[in-house]
């Protein structure tokens, strides 16, 4: 029993989105709205960090060791110029968190994009072609899945670092991390994409395309790929949260981005050393930022999974 929808001829793509069931469910879910708002605030803050941050943590002229280890502004000996206090080197915590979030999110987005392109590509080809290609790729994915993702990332990270010349290590560290996390991520995407491809390839529109005479590449790109993106999108959203955590973990372990250009994970690690000296703010505020960001992205992913699942509607 379908209710006739409004006439689609006059609709622009934006009206089509605004009219869709997913968008409706989005605007009627307070949790999804809140999660989206938090995520958008974080992304905007990261993008605009140079504009809104009170200090530039990378500019040595703005840093003075005299200002180091200052507690947040509301504490007894806090300085109103440093709202969330300063770290051991005298950098403003708020500014470093803004800049750190920038690096965390950049690594998150880039590594998910890498894992997604690689995984979806291999998954769709495996699912559509089958045979030995499918067997090799999927066994490879199985083997990689037996090792925890973070271990794979550390392994790839370690190998890449030892291959790079020492003078480039810090400069390229962020790309190494992206590569490490992206490569540890692809089996998830490959499995989901392959499963969806197996279903889609059986459907009659794919057979109709074969009867027309289209080749496998066109069929995969034009017919199958757009139809397997739903579950992949859900996985990518949740994957973003996981990638941000993975980056933080790598940085916390000293394997990630260097302290000169700190990410949230690096900040937490630095702060961890001062935790027992009573300098709690150096670790707490980056950690809070990380938790809130990951929670928001995760909630968004959960909602998306439910909204796109026809069985739950």
């Amino acid at each position: 029993m379908s209710v006739p929808s409004s006439d689609s001829e006059t609709q622009t793509w934006w009206q089509r989105i605004a009219d869709s069931d997913v968008f409706y469910s989005f605007t009627h879910s307070p949790l999804a709205l809140a999660a989206a708002a938090v995520t958008v605030v974080f992304v905007l803050a990261a993008l605009c960090a140079p504009l809104i941050a009170p200090f530039d943590p990378f500019d040595p002229s703005q840093i003075s060791l005299w200002d180091g280890k200052k507690p947040p502004a509301w504490e007894a000996d806090g300085d109103p110029a440093y709202l969330l206090g300063t770290d051991n080197q005298g950098r403003d915590m708020l500014s470093t968190i803004l800049y750190g979030g920038r690096i965390s999110l950049a690594v998150g987005f880039a590594s998910v994009a890498l894992g997604m392109v690689l995984g979806v590509g291999l998954g769709v080809i495996s699912g559509y072609l089958g045979g030995w290609f499918d067997a090799v790729i999927m066994r490879l994915a199985d083997v990689q899945l037996t090792i925890p993702g973070i271990l794979t990332a550390i392994l790839i990270n370690g190998i890449l670092r030892s291959v790079l010349p020492p003078e480039l290590r810090d400069e390229l560290a962020i790309y190494v991390v992206i590569l490490a996390i992206g490569l540890s991520d692809w089996p998830q995407f490959a499995r989901v994409a392959r499963g969806a491809t197996l279903v889609e390839a059986q459907r009659e529109y794919v057979q109709a395309a074969r009867v027309i005479g289209l080749g496998p590449v066109t069929i995969m790109l034009r017919h199958i790929l757009p139809n397997v993106m739903r579950p992949v999108l859900v996985l990518a959203t949740i994957g973003l949260a996981l990638a941000v955590i993975a980056e933080a973990t790598l940085s916390f372990l000293g394997q990630g981005v260097p302290p000169t250009t700190p990410s949230l994970g690096t900040l937490i690690r630095v702060g961890n050393e001062y935790l027992f000296s009573g300098l709690w703010w150096i670790t707490l505020f980056p950690a809070l930022a990380l938790v809130i960001l990951v929670l928001a992205v995760n909630l968004l992913g959960d909602w998306l999974r439910d909204a796109l699942n026809p069985k739950l509607r």
Partner: protein
């Protein structure tokens, strides 16, 4: 006195786009021992009535107005426990799919006994003997043994018998049967219907039988209610309604049923149902793109010829020959299709008829045998590019209109794809115009081009499929059960369209169906398939009047006769 009374029923489903009224002003009654049929197209609200009676409306759907009374007692205002007590105890329900209405993890006997002890105050021993008695009554042999078996050990027909026994467990006064035989083969359908009729008479149970099938209505019901878009359009004794329908909708519904005993030129009176809305545009085939440049090499003899075609699927791989298992889906099939002819393939599900179609279309490579098309041996061609020349001349229409169109593409792009791929039109604008003309020609209208497939009904989607198939200007069309997923009335429209196109364009067709009456309407010659082999090839009229193979005779006997249906407006060919 009537048993179940439905008065002024109105069921609403609130949605975000406003209130959807599923059924309105429904008034009907069922007497003890009477079978009342409710017939209509899908979406007409038939099932909603049954669900409203038994309190199974899916939320947020609810009864907005009207009264449902069972022996004078109001049943649509009961609380939860009241509804539960009534369900099963006083009103039984038989669903369409016998597999999903039984618990796969419990023996059949246990399910029966559980239902009996829930509703009746019987001890375990009495409940067991009642269950045994019921299984015997619904015609299950060796009920003692069968009691201990699980649903998957029963065949489809036997399972539906168990479901019927389950519905009768608590000696209900009313049984609602929602498409009880739609999932079954024709031969089993007849047995189940006989059984249901017998049980109703014998136990004075009133039954509402919901179906889209005029054959079922004609066979078992005493009275019939015809529904159209949530309303009752006609109601009365079955023989009267089917023999002399008064309402225009009933007339068109009856005339849309393919008859097993006469061949019609076209199905009359289907305009009333035409929800597609737009009339078919008229193209001058002589001058239009569609009729032009049909640069097919002239060639004498049959257009399609199959020689000893075999298809063997591997069902289990293995290193040694002993562990390998095969299924011979098609075995030594040979026939020829002459130019301009409609050749039918008929057979039960699993007989290999679709596999033959797929091999011809190039979707499967045959294990052995040869396919000749327009003089060329397709099975000898290796390169895709060489095959493309013939692919353009041969197109296919699929069974399931819901999966045969890419949901992410606009109709314009779906129909334009073959034109672009084979470079059949010069430039974007020309392609666009050809697509619009094609859409109009299959009765969809130009406006359809910018929409997405989900905005269309099953029949309209099948029209899009047909437009896409015509977009390569083929001379050979393979139709693989093109109407079996559609309502009877929509089926009549699509069959009319296919017939018109075949005549206009001089198409040759391979038409595959399990439905004999449809085959009779469409085909010039017919091949009967069974277990992957061709039993008989004959002219359609010869096959239907005097079948020579034993299996053909068997199939024809099982076919519903539909002799009580009005023949108003039918013109035999």
């Amino acid at each position: 006195m009537s048993l179940l009374d439905i008065k002024d029923l109105r069921v609403e489903f609130p949605t975000r786009r406003g209130v959807f009224v599923a059924v309105e002003d429904i008034t009907l009654s069922v007497a003890p021992g009477e079978i009342v049929g409710v017939v209509g197209e899908s979406g007409a609200g038939k099932s909603t009535i049954g669900n409203a009676v038994i309190g199974l409306l899916e939320p947020p759907g609810h009864v907005a107005r009207g009264e449902l009374t069972l022996e004078g007692q109001r049943i649509n205002a009961l609380d939860r426990s009241g509804v539960r007590e009534m369900r099963g105890r006083r009103i039984g329900m038989i669903f369409q799919d016998p597999l999903t209405s039984l618990n796969p993890l419990q023996p059949v006997g246990a399910q029966l006994i559980e239902t009996i002890t829930t509703h009746l105050s019987l001890d375990a021993r009495a409940a067991r003997s009642k269950a045994l008695d019921l299984l015997t009554r619904v015609g299950i042999p060796e009920p003692e043994v069968r009691m201990e078996q699980y649903p998957h050990q029963f065949s489809g027909g036997m399972r539906q018998r168990v479901v019927i026994a389950l519905a009768l467990c608590a000696d209900p006064e009313v049984v609602i049967a929602d498409e009880p035989t739609t999932a079954l083969d024709v031969s089993i359908q007849a047995q189940i219907l006989d059984l249901m009729r017998e049980l109703c008479r014998e136990r004075s149970v009133g039954m509402i039988l919901i179906t889209h099938d005029m054959g079922v209505i004609a066979d078992v019901t005493d009275r019939v209610v015809v529904m159209y878009r949530g309303r009752v359009v006609e109601m009365g004794a079955t023989a009267d309604i089917l023999g002399e329908p008064e309402h225009a909708y009933t007339k068109s519904l009856i005339s849309a049923v393919p008859r097993p005993d006469i061949r019609l030129h076209r199905f009359p009176l289907v305009e009333y149902i035409e929800s597609a809305g737009d009339a078919r545009g008229n193209l001058d085939i002589e001058t239009h793109w569609l009729g032009q440049n049909r640069d097919f090499a002239e060639h004498d003899g049959p257009l399609l010829q199959l020689d000893d075609l075999c298809m063997r699927f591997i069902t289990r791989r293995g290193f040694t020959a002993a562990t390998r298992k095969f299924l011979d889906a098609v075995k030594d099939v040979s026939f020829a299709v002459e130019p301009g002819e409609v050749f039918g393939l008929v057979g039960e599900s699993g007989s290999g008829k679709s596999t033959v179609a797929r091999m011809v279309a190039g979707l499967h490579r045959p294990t052995s045998g040869r396919i000749h098309f327009a003089g060329a041996e397709l099975t000898a061609l290796k390169a895709e590019r060489e095959l493309n020349r013939y692919r353009r001349q041969m197109q296919m229409i699929f069974q399931d209109p819901y999966s045969s169109l890419n949901p992410r593409m606009r109709v314009l792009d779906i129909v334009a794809e073959p034109i672009r791929f084979h470079k059949l039109a010069a430039g974007r604008q020309a392609t666009r115009e050809v697509v619009l003309d094609l859409l109009e020609h299959v009765g969809l209208g130009k406006a359809a081009a910018v929409k997405y497939p989900h905005e269309f009904s099953g029949g309209q989607r099948q029209r899009i499929s047909i437009a896409r198939a015509l977009a390569t200007r083929p001379r050979f069309l393979i139709c693989d059960e093109p109407t079996s997923a559609l309502d009877v009335s929509i089926q009549a429209q699509i069959l009319n369209l296919l017939k018109d196109l075949q005549e206009e364009l001089g198409l040759t067709m391979l038409f595959i169906s399990h439905d004999l009456p449809v085959i009779r309407q469409m085909c010039d010659r017919v091949g009967v398939m069974r277990h992957g082999q061709l039993c008989e090839v004959a002219e359609t009229e010869t096959l239907f009047e005097s079948p020579s193979h034993e299996y053909s005779r068997h199939l024809l006997e099982l076919m519903p006769k539909l002799s009580g249906l009005s023949r108003q407006g039918l013109d035999a060919e």
